[in-house]
Symmetry: C2
Subunit: 220 residues, 2 copies
DNA sequence: CGCCGCTTTGAGGAGGTTCAAACACAGTGG
DNA sequence: CCACTGTGTTTGAACCTCCTCAAAGCGGCG
């Protein structure tokens, strides 16, 4: 959330953010087609968002963690275009979008903040498109791990150890790979001593090797 | 642009939109890294937007035509995250973003409009991710052609004939395929009597067949 | 006409998928 | 306590799609 508001302003902002909602592991915060009413700020827990083609193929479009905002997909058509499912028990702030719009008319800093959040999502998706369109399996997985650990580190967690909240299948869906390919790539990294893997526990032993895989040119 | 404004409001909106800029074929409207100052509404012409990885791989993230707005990628970091290149001579409205923000504080309908445009872009990119992550070459190309012709049709052009503004290479980059694969898929469609192709001229002979390829399940 | 960029087409190869089986681990119940 | 089940993961082998490399074709323009 942005900073630099007066006490009264903070009070108004708090009002938007006061409503909470708990989502249990496996439950959806919202589903494709649901009416759009609010954006959600994740207070705790871990989500995946995914879209589905009408013949049933699913694409995970992102994994979101505490501090991130989801639901922007619903604004265009007043109903959600994707589903957000909790990968672990979670709590979110429900921020009614009409209130956000109302307030951001009075508070330029908030307005700018909202715009930045949406723009950040556009830029993130540009990056995923680059990954899906150009990278090979191991590059994708390296990029994924580096991104994940970097975000976790920004939240005070380790920059080398992590416990994946999602299955191989969900990683594969996000990266445009089959779960077997994800598993094989994990094994390969492990054999090469780059990471240590035991199920969902991952320890990054050689972050530079991962970065080199992700972006070969830089290190040649 | 939204509707339902009073005369004075329209006047203010016109002021935002009054500045024009011409971009010749092959020139960039903005480049990756450029300072972000404005959004651009395309008045005429055709653009591609693309991101580049630091080892030089390029991913076309979209093709944009008259009536569409580009530049939202620049809002987060106050500089552009991708490049927008004209594929044919083009003219855009330069809409300074500070003016957009200022005005949308006064005009809720404009504010909502801005939000929708950004949300639409997020949703569009979700769709591309689904395409890149799940579809095979011919499905991608079918989806691409159908999307293109639908957008052209919405602008009063034919719903069966079109002239591609982009090369096979650019189509391939957008679809996560090599140009040869794009070319082969075109040829395959042509052999099957689904389309007629001569270089960049394409005529869709059997739109239903294309739709069937794009989304097999629906027609089984 | 001859050059150049783009496109088409072919042949061979690589990376990822598919199918299948075995394994790990958590939870359940005898 | 341990076998039993179910879900998720790993690993192997065969296959397929798409990529790579190469050459020829097309079309526009000086």
């Amino acid at each position: 959330m942005p900073v630099g508001f007066s006490p009264e302003e903070m009070q108004r902002i708090d009002a938007v953010v006061e409503k909470r909602r708990r989502v249990r592991q496996g439950e959806a915060l919202y589903n494709n087609g649901d009416d759009f009413t609010a954006l959600y700020a994740i207070r705790s827990g871990f989500f995946k968002t995914c879209v589905t083609s009408n013949d049933g193929r699913e694409q995970v479009t992102g994994f979101q963690m505490a501090g991130e905002v989801i639901g922007m997909d619903g604004i265009v058509n007043d109903n959600h275009n994707c589903s957000a499912v909790a990968l672990e028990d979670a709590e979110v702030c429900v921020m009614p979008f009409t209130m956000i719009e109302e307030m951001s008319r009075d508070l330029p800093a908030l307005q700018r903040h909202v715009h930045k959040i949406m723009s950040r999502e556009i830029v993130r998706e540009n990056g995923v498109m680059l990954l899906l369109g150009n990278m090979r399996a191991e590059e994708r997985l390296a990029a994924f791990l580096l991104n994940l650990v970097q975000r976790l580190h920004a939240r005070g967690l380790s920059q080398s150890e992590l416990v994946l909240r999602m299955s191989r299948d969900e990683i594969g869906s996000y990266l445009g790979l089959k779960l077997e390919t994800v598993s094989r790539s994990f094994s390969k990294f492990s054999e090469e001593g780059i990471i240590e893997v035991r199920q969902r526990y991952v320890k990054i032993l050689a972050p530079d090797a991962l970065k080199k895989i992700f972006n070969p040119q830089t290190y040649v």
